[in-house]
Amino acid sequence: MLDEHDFFSTEFEDEDDEDTQKDKYLSFFVGSEEYAVAIRHVIEVIGMQKITPVPEMPDHVKGVINLRGQVIPVTDVRTRFGLEVKVYTERTCIVVVMVRDSLVGLVVDSVSDVLDIPQERIDPVPRVNQREGNRYIEGMGKVADDVKIILDVQRLLFDE
């Protein structure tokens, strides 16, 4: 018999439940490549909205947006990776992540899927090419024939 307690614990507490979020990743496109971030960082995905520019910020920090009464900064992942600037389209999304207790929006070209990538399917970063972007990579996730680049959100946002 499913009693009330079980019902609630499965339905409403899963946000905090590490187990249900384990190995789950949100994948998105930036340029031609597909990236993924651990789902425990992700708060929500919202459509593009008007960004208020803030002066004296690094290039990739586009400004601030109003997320239901909360003002949060927005970072363009494209610019962060040093890719060429692209006009935002209706597919452009803002992935809101929570890092070090603050909310930050990530502008990505489009969001694609929520994936299950078990730990053993994640390879370390190849050491061949020590380019700029590599330091944001946490690992390479192998999903079927594809490879998703798993990002270290912390470094992506806070590394200088």
């Binding site: 008007k50 208020t52 520019p53 803030v54 002066p55 004296e56 910020m57 920090v61 400004g63 601030v64 947006i65 109003n66 239901r68 009464g69 909360q70 003002v71 949060i72 900064p73 070090r100 207790d101 603050s102 909310l103 930050v104 946002l157």
Partner: protein, 919 residues
């Protein structure tokens, strides 16, 4: 686990409350001490207030078994008792000791809160208790010798035919004890009534042993003292409550009605106390008369209805009638639901109440009657008997007889004639005579409408009984079918009424005592966010493209109304988080007092603007910096005058708070010697902070040096300051809340520290302007004027700084789009507008492109992810959901100063010249 955490929660709320109490009574204590120094007589009200504070702490601390706190509070109480009873006048040394007691308590609370034991503080506790004991002992000795004297006096007075004066003086002594008893008991009852099982009977499944113990000790104390004071009726009642408590243990289930009965008792005790207080103050004589008579067991004591007694009688009558009205309502209900224990309990407590008041008035027969009625209900409670229609009818009869009695009493006659037969009926019931016999033996007098109507005339308060009350009579005792009767009064309705009516004393008292509730800041923030959302949602509806351009008269009217409500709601929601700064400032009173007495300097403190509201978190964080600044001011700044009038202070300290722009200014000024720039530089060079090639430094930079960690111009380190830590702490703390501190000083004329603290959450009035494609909000308070200027008004200096001549003033221009690198929209000054802003003494003209409007801006802090942006103090959300940055005028000016080589601040020196020393 859960239970433990609940206790923790309780404990922390206890600590928060106690800290509040400590904060509240401290300034009073100091004021008292200061008054005493000037030989003013202490104000009784203040002493009582302090006493109550200690008492409350003691009571609650006992509940949490914080023995050391209890011990401290108890000693403090004992000491205060001497002054309260008027035997002694306070002296300053006592107030000092009491201040120390408060300190130690505060320390203890911190220890307890952090989960440590009180071991660390044992030494301090011991020393303070020792000092308290010293004072108490000396006072006791003094009062003993004095009381011997008074006793002698009394003896001689008695010999010489005691006149009325003597009578009253001895009465008033008793009266004083009475007052103490009343206030103490009231506190105890209040504590009891705040117990978990009383406040939320449905939540807890069982009693908690500690709560029960607590109740029974409290009640025990009260029972003893009330017995001692000859308040037999009260003692009786308390003993009842004690019995009730005694019959419970932690395994007993909490039944609602049961608890209701107990809380009824508590409320009754409260009303007793009120009565005692009311009569004790101005009619002690009568009061004593009563207790004496009941003590002596003088039976049907019918006091002469004269003078003040008549007043009491009126009170008694109106009270009793009110009780009767309630009682009748309940009885009707009870007839409907005979097994409803809550109603049974209510009826019992109503009888009890009447019993109590009639006992107090000396109407013994009435007392007995009500007592009997109550006893029946108690039997029902204990399930000795089963409440049947007959019983209810008998109870109804009691109420009728009582009503008759009161009615007669109103005409000035005492008529107990109907009582005996009713008493007899009740006796029969309690002795358990079978149903059939009842019928044969007694004929209950009819309860008819006439009586009910005559009742109505008695008093306006009487609730009109439903017409079919008469059907009471038609019920035959043998037909046990309550469903036959359809009373017109809906039970639920009665319940509603009775909730309001039955315990007015209890509810109102709570209202006045606890005007606030504790709410977690997170909840408030959530509320504020939601309100912000609501504002945006409202805008989305009102400015919806679908309705744009349509002539919708009704819609417009409705939205105007909505807008008003939303605005009000927003104001209220934001005001909730703000607290006046007075709490923090109050602590400083103590500090100045202590510091000035320790340094031997006489310092007066002037507080300005303590009603300025600041965010709660900010209020907490500015306390430490203030302490350091004030200490410094007294220790280093203010100098002892060599020759002065005794009443003239050595110096003043002014503590001021006010809003300026999006900031709160907290200013500490002193009339001391001011900062010695030369000495600062000398020291700074000696310690290598400043190198010779850096010279010369501006005054401002020189003042900056004093914030350097470890920097001190003091040659000797005193108890309080001189190590050079204080100002470093000040700056660090301010950094935490993104505040800053400015120093102004002139040698020999004093020094002032201005702390500027941004309001993390506040509303400001702002002007919305457009610069290029972005919109910014400029705080309206810092705007002086807005101008459109002509080319010829502009002068450009050789380093490219533009200056605008407005009337006779040269104002530097800041091109906002340049500063923020927002691209160039229109660079011609003539096409834009100049907003002349000022910050302290600095003036600048901001070049903008357009004014978009004026609005109330809800300030939101910038995200921690972004470093602080110079010239931006925060942001706000506009009506359409867009984010607008709020300009920090001061920061903007400073920034352009540094970038453009100080062109903006040509008249910096003026700042220091205009600094007026504190009054």
């Amino acid at each position: 686990m859960e239970r433990k955490s609940r206790i923790d929660e309780d404990l922390s709320s206890f600590i928060a409350e106690s800290n509040e109490i400590v904060e509240e009574i401290e300034p009073h204590l100091i004021k008292l001490g200061e008054g005493l120094e000037k030989n003013e007589l202490p104000d009784d009200e203040t002493v009582n207030l302090i006493f109550r504070g200690f008492h409350t702490i003691k009571g609650t601390a006992a509940f949490y078994q914080l023995d050391s706190v209890v011990a401290l509070a108890h000693k403090a109480e004992t000491l205060l008792e001497f002054f309260r009873s008027g035997h002694e006048t306070l002296n300053a040394s006592c107030t000092d000791v009491l201040c120390q007691t408060l300190d130690v308590m505060g320390h203890l609370f911190t220890l307890i809160e952090s989960g440590k034991g009180d071991d660390e503080a044992q030494d301090r506790i011991r020393s303070v208790i020792h000092r308290l004991n010293g004072r108490i002992d000396s006072l006791r000795k003094k009062s003993e010798s004095q009381s011997c004297l008074t006793l002698d006096d009394e003896a001689s007075d008695e010999n010489s035919d005691a006149g009325p004066e003597q009578f009253f003086s001895s009465q008033s002594r008793v009266g004083k004890y009475m007052m103490i008893f009343v206030s103490e008991s009231r506190a105890m009852i209040r504590q009891i009534m705040e117990m978990k099982f009383l406040s939320m009977p449905d939540d807890s499944a069982s009693f908690r042993q500690d709560e029960l113990d607590f109740c029974s000790t409290r009640l025990g104390i009260m029972a003893d003292s009330s017995g001692f004071l000859g308040l037999d009726a009260l003692a009786d009642l308390i003993n009842k409550a004690l019995e009730w408590i005694g019959s419970k243990d932690k395994d007993t289930d909490v039944a609602h009605h049961d608890v209701g009965m107990f809380s009824g008792m508590c409320i009754q005790i409260m009303s007793f106390l009120d009565r005692i207080e009311q009569w004790g103050t101005d009619r002690e004589g009568i009061h004593i008369d009563f207790s004496d008579s009941s003590e002596d067991g003088v039976k049907p004591c019918i006091p002469e209805p004269v003078g003040s007694f008549q007043d009491l009688n009126v009170v008694f009558m109106s009270e009793t009638i009110e009780n009767l009205n309630n009682l009748e309502k309940k009885l009707i209900w009870l007839r409907e639901e005979r097994l409803n224990r809550a109603v049974q309990g209510d009826v019992a407590s109503l009888f009890h109440q009447m019993k109590g008041s009639s006992g107090l008035m000396g109407y013994v027969k009435l007392e007995t009657l009500c007592g009997k009625a109550e006893a029946i209900l108690e039997d029902v409670f204990d399930e000795l008997i089963f409440l049947d229609m007959w019983d209810i009818k008998a109870l109804w009869e009691v109420s009728r007889v009582v009503r008759l009695f009161v009615k007669n009493l109103e005409h000035g006659t005492l008529d107990f004639s109907a009582f005996d037969s009713t008493l007899h009926i009740l006796d029969q019931i309690s002795s358990g005579i079978p149903e059939e016999e009842k019928e044969q033996n007694f004929i209950l007098p009819e309860m008819n409408r006439e009586t009910a109507e005559s009742n109505d005339k008695l008093t306006d308060k009487t609730v009109r009984m439903p017409a079919d009350v008469d059907c009471m009579d038609t019920v035959q005792p043998d037909t046990h079918q309550p469903h036959d009767i359809q009373p017109s009064v809906n039970p639920a309705q009665i319940q509603e009424m009775s909730v309001e009516d039955s315990i007015p004393g209890g509810i109102e008292r709570r209202k006045t005592d606890r005007r606030d509730i504790r709410v977690s800041i997170e909840k408030l923030d959530e509320l504020i966010n939601l309100v912000g959302e609501l504002v945006i949602a409202e805008n989305m509806v009102v400015k919806n493209p679908d309705v744009r351009g349509l002539e919708l008269e009704n819609f417009d009217r409705a939205t105007a109304h909505l807008r008003k409500i939303v605005r009000d709601l927003q104001d209220v929601a934001l005001a909730v988080r703000m607290i006046p700064v007075s709490g923090v400032f109050r602590k400083m009173i103590r500090l100045v007092h202590d510091q000035s007495s320790k340094t031997g300097k006489k310092v007066n403190l002037k507080i300005i603007g303590d009603d300025t509201e600041i965010d709660k978190t900010v209020a907490e964080l500015i306390s430490d910096p203030l302490v350091h600044l004030i200490r410094n001011a007294i220790d280093h700044g203010i100098q002892k005058k060599t020759s002065r009038n005794m009443n003239e202070p050595d110096g003043w300290i002014v503590l001021e708070a006010r809003h300026e722009g999006g900031e709160v200014l907290v200013i500490v000024k002193d009339t001391g010697k001011g900062l010695d720039t030369e000495k600062i530089l000398e020291k700074a060079m000696a310690s290598g902070i400043v190198k010779r090639e850096d010279l010369p430094l501006s005054d401002r930079d020189a003042y900056d040096l004093i914030f350097h960690p470890g920097f001190s111009t003091c040659d000797t380190v005193s108890d309080f300051s001189g190590r050079g830590v204080g100002l470093d702490v000040v700056r660090r703390n301010l950094d935490k809340i993104k505040g800053r501190i400015d120093v102004f000083s002139r040698k020999g004329r004093g020094c002032s520290f201005v702390m500027r603290i941004p309001l993390t959450l506040a509303i400001i009035d702002g002007m919305l302007v457009r610069v290029g494609e972005s919109s910014y909000t400029i705080p309206l308070l810092s705007i002086r004027e807005t101008l459109q200027i002509k080319e010829k008004q502009v002068t450009t200096t050789m380093d490219g700084q533009e200056m605008v001549r407005v009337r006779d003033e040269m104002i530097p221009v800041i091109r906002l789009h340049d500063v923020y690198g927002m691209g160039k929209d229109d660079t011609e000054i003539e096409n834009g507008l100049i907003v002349v802003v000022e910050h302290q003494e600095d003036v600048a003209g901001l070049l903008i492109h357009d004014i978009l409007g004026e609005q109330q801006a809800v300030i939101k802090g910038m995200s921690g992810y972004m470093d602080q942006v110079a010239g931006i103090s925060g942001c706000t959300i506009l009506g359409d959901g867009e984010v607008s940055l709020i300009l920090d005028v001061g920061g903007l000016i400073r920034r352009s100063q540094s970038r453009e080589g100080g062109a903006v601040l040509k008249n910096t020196a003026k700042v220091y010249d205009t600094l007026s020393p504190a009054p």
